[in-house]
C-alpha cells in the first residue's frame, strides 16, 4: 500500500510512522488500503512507455524562436524595410499599423555534432545539443497569452479543461502516493490565466496540479499555525479519531468514511515526506553550483532551484513537473530582456539535462521546453524606434525535447526564411499533446473521460503523433 515503485532510500516511507497513524485513527490497515485505492485510479500505460515522467519547462510570454534556436540571417538584409503581409480581420490590434522587419540583435554559434545554430548566450546548454531534438514546426492558434497558454497547457483555449499533467497522472496514476503526482513550480508570479493552467478541469480533484509557491508553505496549510505544537496536534487528532470511530460504528455501510479517515493519514505522510524532497541544501556544493544556485549565481539562482527541484521530484516519483519561467514577452527592448532570460535559464536547464543523464534518469524522463507561441520577424515603431522587440506569432515557434523516446541531436521541421511561418513538419498543438502522451505510454484516443455526456480527451478531437521527433 505504501510502496513507491521507485525505491530511493530517501523517500521510502517510515513504516513506524505509518502504523502509528493507523493506530491513531483506529481505522486499521485494511480500511485505509481500501479507501486509498478508491481515491487514486492508476490505470497504467496503454502501450510500452518511452518515458515514465515528464518535466515541462514552460517559457511564459512566448520566447522568440528567431533570437534563440532558429536564427534568420535574412532579417539582417531586411532590417528596417517595410513588412508586407496581407492584413485580414483575424489580426490583433497589436499587429496592425506600419511595421518593419527587425534583425536579431544577437550572435549565434553552432553546437553539437549536428552544428545546430543557437544564441551564443547558451554557453552551457550548447553542450547538451547532442541530446536535444529541436522542433521548429509547432504551430499555435492564438496570439493572446492566456488563451495560448490554456491551449498549450490544457488543449483548449477556453480555460477549465484538465491540464496535460492532469491527463498524464489520470492515465498513469501515481508513483509515490505520499507526494502529489503533478507538481507545478511557478515563477514568482502565477502566469496569465492563473491556476487554470494546471487545473484538473473535469477530472477528479486528485489530478489537480499542486503549485509550489515561491514563498510560503510548499503545500497549503501543510503545517498548523505558528505555536501549535506537535503534541497538541496529536491530542486533537486522537480525539477526532475516537469520535470518528464511534461515528463509523453507527454508519457501517458508509464506505466513504474510511476514505476520509485515510485521507488524514495520507496528509500527514505527505507532511513528513514533502519537506525532504524540498531540501535542496542537502545537495552537494558541486551540484548546486552546476545548477547555478547560491553563491555568485544571482541571475540563475531562481530558475536553478526550480530545475533542481524538478529533478528531485522526478527522482521521488512525481509523474509530471512543470517549471514556469516568465518574462519572455519582449515587445520592446528584446536585446536586454531576452539576454537576461537566456542567461537565467542557460545554466539551470543544461544542469538539469546533464544531471538527469548522469543519474540515468534521462532515458525515463521526457524534458520539454516551449513557450505558448513564437514571435514576429517584424515590429511596429515604438519608443522612438530605439526599442526593438517582437510581437506575438502563432504560426512559427521553437520548442525542444530531450530524453525518453525522442531523437537525440536532431532538428525537425523548419520555418520560412524570415521566421514568419512554419513550413516543414508543421503540426498543431494537439499533435504535440498526442505525441507527449504517446511517449509516456498513453494513447490520446483511449485516454478519455466522460464529462457532461461527452467523451473528452486532451487533443479534443484527436491528432497525429509527430513521428519525425520520435527516436
Amino acid at each position: 500500500m505504501f510502496t513507491n515503485t521507485r525505491k530511493t532510500a530517501l523517500l521510502r516511507p517510515r513504516l513506524g510512522m505509518v502504523s502509528r497513524r493507523d493506530a491513531l485513527f483506529g481505522g486499521g490497515m485494511g480500511l485505509g488500503a481500501v479507501a486509498l485505492s478508491a481515491m487514486t485510479s492508476p490505470k497504467g500505460p496503454h502501450h510500452k512507455a518511452r518515458a515514465k515522467n515528464c518535466i515541462f519547462l514552460l517559457m511564459e510570454g512566448g520566447p522568440s524562436h528567431i533570437d534563440t534556436f532558429d536564427p534568420k540571417p535574412k532579417l539582417d538584409a531586411l532590417h528596417m524595410t517595410k513588412f508586407q503581409k496581407e492584413r485580414t480581420k483575424f489580426e490583433a490590434n497589436m499587429n496592425t499599423g506600419e511595421r518593419y522587419y527587425v534583425k536579431s540583435p544577437f550572435t549565434f554559434k553552432r553546437a553539437g555534432k549536428l552544428g545546430v545554430e543557437m544564441n551564443s548566450l547558451f554557453e552551457n546548454f550548447a553542450e547538451c545539443a547532442d541530446d536535444i531534438c529541436f522542433y521548429r514546426g509547432l504551430r499555435a492558434e492564438s496570439v493572446n497569452h492566456p488563451t495560448a497558454l490554456y491551449h498549450l497547457n490544457t488543449g483548449n483555449q477556453f480555460g477549465g479543461d484538465p491540464a496535460v499533467g492532469s491527463w498524464v497522472t489520470y492515465g498513469l496514476g501515481s508513483e509515490n502516493k505520499n507526494l502529489p503526482s503533478f507538481v507545478v513550480l511557478p515563477d514568482t508570479a502565477f502566469p496569465q490565466g492563473g491556476a487554470a493552467n494546471w487545473s484538473n478541469g473535469f477530472l477528479p480533484a486528485e489530478f489537480q496540479g499542486t503549485p509550489l509557491r515561491a514563498a510560503g508553505a510548499p503545500v497549503l496549510d501543510m503545517a498548523p499555525p505558528a505555536g501549535v505544537t506537535a503534541e497538541r496536534q496529536r491530542a486533537v487528532m486522537d480525539l477526532m479519531g475516537a469520535l470518528n470511530k464511534g461515528h463509523q460504528q453507527q454508519h457501517p455501510e458508509h464506505a466513504e468514511l474510511a476514505a476520509r479517515i485515510a485521507s488524514y493519514e495520507l496528509a500527514f505522510r505527505m507532511q513528513a515526506e514533502m519537506p525532504k524532497v524540498l531540501e535542496i541544501e542537502k545537495e552537494s556544493k558541486a551540484t548546486l553550483e552546476m545548477y547555478g544556485i547560491g553563491g555568485s549565481n544571482k541571475d540563475t539562482d531562481a530558475v536553478g532551484r526550480r530545475c533542481l527541484l524538478a529533478r528531485r521530484m522526478v527522482e521521488a516519483g512525481v509523474r509530471f513537473v512543470q517549471v514556469i519561467v516568465m518574462g519572455w514577452d519582449s515587445h520592446d527592448y528584446i536585446e536586454k530582456a531576452h539576454s537576461a532570460r537566456m542567461r537565467a535559464i542557460d545554466k539551470p536547464i543544461a544542469a538539469l539535462l546533464k544531471d538527469l543523464k548522469q543519474r540515468g534518469l534521462l532515458d525515463d524522463t521526457l524534458v520539454v521546453w516551449s513557450g505558448e507561441f513564437g514571435r514576429s520577424p517584424d515590429n511596429g515603431i515604438r519608443a522612438g524606434g530605439q526599442a526593438w522587440g517582437r510581437d506575438h506569432n502563432a504560426t512559427a515557434m521553437s520548442t525542444w525535447l530531450a530524453g525518453g523516446g525522442v531523437k537525440r541531436g536532431a532538428i525537425v521541421g523548419a520555418t520560412d526564411e524570415t521566421g514568419l511561418q512554419g513550413v516543414e513538419a508543421v503540426h498543431p498543438i494537439k499533435d504535440f499533446h498526442v505525441t507527449l502522451l504517446h511517449l509516456l505510454g498513453l494513447d490520446d484516443a483511449k485516454l478519455r473521460y466522460l464529462h457532461a455526456g461527452r467523451e473528452k480527451q486532451l487533443s479534443q478531437v484527436g491528432g497525429e503523433i509527430i513521428r519525425e521527433i520520435l527516436a
Partner: protein, 793 residues
C-alpha cells in the same frame, strides 16, 4: 411522407436534413441501395456530383441547372419518384439546399427510440399520484434528529441549532414535518443555498478571467437577483424569460435587465493582443452552449464543429441558435439600486477603494508628472514600477464601478454610449449597427465560414416532440425574445424535465437522470422516467413553482427514508457552517462581493496581470463583512479561496451540474491546519464554558458518555499544556513584497504593496484568551474535523 406533415416554415428551417432524409426514404431504393438505375448513385455528395447516365445530379449553387430538381419538378422529361408528386415544400427545400451549396451533412437519422426520450412529449400525468407511488419500495424512516439536520442543510445550507432540533423532536403533531419544510422554504437562507446551485450551472463570477481578470463590477446584482428569485419563488418560466431576454420582453423592468447578466456569465476578455473576430466568436459559442446546457440540458459542444455524433443536433442547428445571439451586445446601463438590494455598505466600500486608487494615482503623478496625460518623461529604471501603477489604476477603475448603479447586462444592438466591451472593443453607433451574418463554421474554424444561416431554434424538438419551431426574426431586436419563449414553454419537452431533475438531484445527491446538463444519448437514462415526467408536470401545473416541487419531494417517504450512505457537505456549506457554529457568521445579505479571510500564502501570491502584477488580496477589515456567507464572497476567476477550491467548489469556467465530492488529503490540511479553522475553533472555545457545550454547538447534540470521557480527558491534557505555555503575542503584519520578472529588462523588480487603508479587525488570538478557552478551542477543532460534522445523512 413525413416531410409533408411538416409546416412550410419548418421545411425551410430544416433544410438539408429534410432533403437528405427525403432522398434516403424515396430515392435511395433505386439510386444507390441495391440498385443503381441510370448509373446514378445519390448516397453521397460526391456521387451526386459525379452523376449518372445523364450527367451530374446537382450543380451546387445553381438549382435550376440541377437534374435532381428537374426530376422532382417533372421537367426535362423526368418525373421522380415514379408515380408520386413531391410536395411543393419538398421541392422548395431541395431548391434552397442546392442553391445553398448542397451541403451534405453526415447526420444520419438512425437514433434509437430510447435515446430520444427527452425530446418527446411526456404522457399526461395522474395528478393524484405521489412521489412514493413511483418508487414503490417502503424503507425505514430516518430518525427525527437525522431528518431535521438533513432537510435544514439541504434547504438552507446551515445546520439546525440544538433548540430547533429539540423542538422538532418533541413535536409529535401530524404536520410537524410539513411545517418544518415550510419554515425552511420561507427562510431567506433558502435562496442563499439554492441560488448557489444555479450559480454553479451558469458559472457565476465577479471577474472576467484570462489575462487581466478585470472585475465585472456589477455582476453581484445578478447573483442577488438569483437569490431573490429563489426566495420569492419566481415562476421558473419567468426566471428563464428574464435571463434569456429580459431586456427585450420586459423593457423598463430593472429585475429583468439585471437577469440578462446570465448571458455574459462565462469568462471573457478582449485586449490589444486578442483578435476581435475571435473574441466575439468565443462569446457567441459560450452563450450558445450555456443557454442550451442550462435550460435544455443539451451539450452542444460537438455540434460546433460537426453534426453531433450522438444526438440529432446538426451543426446548422447550432449556428442557427447562435444567430439568435448575433445581435446581443454587452451593455452596462445605469440602473438605480432597488429597495430589495443591499446598498448599505456601498459608500463605505467605495471610500476605501477610492483611497487606494487615489494613492496609486498620486504615486504616478509624483514619479512622472503629467505622464499619464501624455506630458513629461519617465526614467526607464522607473518604468516597471510605473507600469504596475498603471495596471492597478486600470483594475481599480473597473472595480470602483461596483458601487455605481449600473447593470451588468446586454442589449440587442449596442446602446449608444453605454456599451461595455473594454477599451479595445470597437462598437459602432446604434444607427450604424448592422447585425453580423452567422455562418456554419465547419470544424469551428472562424476563418473558413460555410453556408450562411438565419436565426432559429434547435429542430430536434419539433422533429421528435412535435413542438413547433417558431420563426426567429432577422431584425436586431426580438431574436432572443422568440428563443426565450420557445424555451420557457410548457410544450417544450426539455425545459421542465431538466429543472425538475436538477431539483431532485440537489435533494438526493443524484438526479433521476444522472447527467443534469445532458439529456441526450450520452447522458444517463433516467432511472425513473415516469417520476421525472410527473415532477416536470408538477412544476408546470403549479405555475412553474420551484417550491411546489420541493414540497412534493420533501413530503415524500422517499426523502425521509433512512440512508446508509451520507454525503459530504459542499465547500460553501462547510465554511458557512463553521462560521455559524463558531458564532461568527454575519447574516447580512446582498451587495458587492466580500473578501473573506483566506490562506495567507494564497493571499500574498503575486498574480501576473498582462505585463504586470495584480494588487494584493486583502480580506475585508470588518468581521461583519468578511464573515458573510460564502455565496456573497467575491468570486475571482484567478484567485479562488482554497477553502472552497479544495472542497471541490464549482469551476467558474465550466458549467458545474453536480459537485464532485472526492476526498483528497489537502482537505485534511485545510480543515485541520488552516488559520481559518484555528481562528473559528478558538472563537468557539472562548464562547463556551465546557466540552459538552461544544458538542451541542457543533453537532447539535450532547456528547455520549464515552465521547464525553475521551473529550474531557483530552481537554484536561490540553489545558495543562496551555496553562504551562503561554502563547506568543500576535505577530506584526508582514509587508507584502512582490517581485516580477520584467518583460523590459528580463530582470527581477520588487514592489512593496501599500497597507490596507482600513484597520483590520482581528480575529481572536490565543494570547488574548484564557488557557481554558484555548483548550476548548482545540476540542472544537477536533469536532469540526469529525466525520459527523462534514457528512449529512
Amino acid at each position: 411522407m413525413r416531410i409533408l406533415a411538416l409546416a412550410a416554415a419548418a421545411v425551410s428551417v430544416h433544410g438539408a436534413l429534410d432533403v437528405l432524409s427525403a432522398l434516403k426514404r424515396d430515392c435511395f431504393g433505386c439510386h444507390g441501395e441495391g440498385q443503381v438505375l441510370s448509373k446514378l448513385d445519390l448516397r453521397s455528395r460526391e456521387a451526386m456530383l459525379k452523376g449518372g447516365a445523364r450527367g451530374p445530379a446537382i450543380v451546387p449553387g445553381n438549382a435550376e441547372a440541377s437534374l435532381l430538381l428537374a426530376a422532382i419538378e417533372g421537367r426535362k422529361g423526368l418525373q421522380m419518384p415514379p408515380g408520386a408528386k413531391p410536395s411543393a415544400e419538398l421541392v422548395a427545400a431541395v431548391r434552397e439546399w442546392i442553391n445553398g451549396g448542397a451541403v451534405w451533412t453526415a447526420w444520419k437519422e438512425d437514433y434509437k427510440s430510447e435515446d430520444l426520450w427527452a425530446f418527446r412529449q411526456p404522457k399526461p400525468r395522474d395528478k393524484a399520484k405521489t412521489v412514493d407511488a413511483f418508487l414503490g419500495v417502503s424503507t425505514a424512516k430516518a430518525d427525527k434528529r437525522t431528518l431535521i439536520r438533513r432537510v435544514t442543510i439541504d434547504l438552507t445550507g446551515l445546520p439546525p441549532t440544538q433548540k430547533e432540533i429539540d423542538e422538532f423532536v418533541k413535536d409529535n403533531s401530524k404536520d410537524a414535518w410539513a411545517r418544518l419544510v415550510d419554515r425552511l422554504l420561507a427562510s431567506p437562507r433558502y435562496g442563499e443555498r439554492w441560488a448557489r446551485h444555479w450559480l454553479d450551472v451558469v458559472r457565476y463570477a465577479d471577474t472576467n478571467g484570462y489575462s487581466n481578470d478585470f472585475e465585472r463590477p456589477n455582476a453581484w446584482r445578478y447573483r442577488d437577483y438569483v437569490i431573490r428569485a429563489f426566495n420569492e419563488d419566481k415562476p421558473y418560466n419567468r426566471f428563464i424569460l428574464e435571463q434569456v431576454a429580459g431586456d427585450e420582453l420586459f423593457p423598463g423592468n430593472p429585475e429583468a435587465l439585471i437577469a440578462t447578466g446570465f448571458l455574459r456569465a462565462g469568462p471573457w476578455e478582449h485586449t490589444g493582443m486578442s483578435v476581435e473576430a475571435v473574441t466575439r466568436q468565443m462569446f457567441l459559442d459560450d452563450v450558445t452552449h450555456a443557454t442550451a446546457a442550462t435550460f435544455l440540458g443539451l451539450t452542444l459542444g460537438c455540434a460546433k464543429c460537426h453534426d453531433h455524433k450522438f444526438d440529432p443536433l446538426p451543426t446548422k442547428d447550432y449556428y442557427r441558435m447562435q444567430a439568435v445571439f448575433a445581435t446581443t451586445e454587452f451593455a452596462r446601463p445605469k440602473l438605480p439600486f432597488l429597495p430589495t438590494e443591499n446598498s448599505s455598505d456601498l459608500a463605505y466600500g467605495k471610500s476605501l477603494l477610492q483611497k487606494v486608487s487615489d494613492d496609486v494615482k498620486t504615486k504616478m503623478e509624483r514619479m512622472a508628472p503629467g505622464y499619464q496625460q501624455g506630458r513629461g518623461t519617465l526614467p526607464p529604471d522607473q518604468f516597471e514600477e510605473y507600469k504596475l501603477y498603471q495596471k492597478h489604476n486600470a483594475l481599480h477603475k473597473e472595480s470602483l464601478d461596483r458601487y455605481e448603479p449600473k447593470a451588468f447586462a446586454v442589449s440587442s444592438g449596442p446602446r449608444n454610449g453605454e456599451t461595455d466591451g473594454g477599451a479595445n472593443m470597437r462598437y459602432p453607433k446604434r444607427a450604424e449597427y448592422k447585425p453580423a451574418d452567422v455562418h456554419v463554421l465547419p470544424g469551428g474554424n472562424i476563418q473558413a465560414p460555410a453556408e450562411k444561416v438565419s436565426p432559429g431554434v434547435l429542430s430536434l424538438l419539433e422533429r421528435y416532440g412535435g413542438y413547433p419551431s417558431p420563426v426567429v426574426p432577422e431584425t436586431v431586436e426580438g431574436r432572443r425574445a422568440v428563443l426565450a419563449n420557445w424555451i420557457a414553454n410548457e410544450k417544450n419537452p426539455l425545459t421542465a424535465r431538466v429543472m425538475a431533475n436538477r431539483i431532485w438531484q440537489y435533494h438526493f445527491g443524484k438526479g433521476l437522470a444522472a447527467d443534469a446538463n445532458n439529456f441526450g444519448k450520452m447522458g444517463a437514462k433516467p432511472s425513473n422516467p415516469e417520476l421525472l415526467d410527473w415532477l416536470a408536470s408538477e412544476l408546470v401545473e403549479s405555475g412553474w413553482s420551484v417550491k411546489a416541487v420541493h414540497r412534493k419531494i420533501l413530503n415524500s417517504q422517499a426523502y425521509q427514508a433512512a440512508r446508509s450512505e451520507g454525503r459530504r457537505v459542499e465547500a460553501e456549506v462547510l465554511r458557512d457552517s463553521i462560521l455559524f457554529v463558531a458564532g461568527e457568521l454575519s447574516e447580512e445579505r446582498g451587495g458587492p462581493g466580500v473578501f473573506p479571510d483566506i490562506n495567507e500564502d494564497v493571499a500574498r501570491q503575486p498574480l501576473h496581470r498582462m505585463g504586470s502584477l495584480s494588487p494584493v488580496y486583502r480580506p475585508d477589515a470588518l468581521k461583519r463583512i468578511r464573515n458573510r456567507r460564502t455565496i456573497y464572497t467575491f468570486q475571482q476567476r484567478s484567485l479562488v479561496d482554497p477553502m472552497v477550491e479544495v472542497f471541490n467548489g464549482a469551476s467558474m469556467d465550466l458549467s458545474c451540474d453536480r459537485r464532485d465530492a472526492a476526498t483528497v488529503p489537502t482537505q485534511a490540511f485545510a480543515l485541520f491546519n488552516s488559520q481559518f479553522a484555528h481562528d473559528m475553533a478558538l472563537a468557539m472555545g472562548a464562547r463556551v464554558s465546557n466540552v459538552s457545550e461544544l458538542f451541542v454547538r457543533v453537532l447539535g447534540r450532547a456528547p455520549r458518555a464515552d465521547e464525553l470521557r475521551s473529550a474531557t480527558a483530552t481537554y484536561r491534557k490540553l489545558l495543562a499544556q496551555h496553562t504551562a505555555a503561554a502563547p506568543a503575542p500576535r505577530a506584526a503584519a508582514r509587508p507584502v513584497v512582490h517581485s516580477i520578472t520584467s518583460e523590459l529588462t528580463g530582470e527581477q523588480h520588487k514592489f512593496t504593496h501599500p497597507e490596507s487603508p482600513a484597520a483590520y479587525e482581528h480575529n481572536l488570538h490565543p494570547s488574548e484568551v484564557t488557557p481554558k478557552a484555548r483548550a476548548l478551542g482545540d476540542i472544537a477543532l477536533a469536532l469540526i474535523n469529525s466525520n459527523e460534522f462534514v457528512y449529512v445523512y
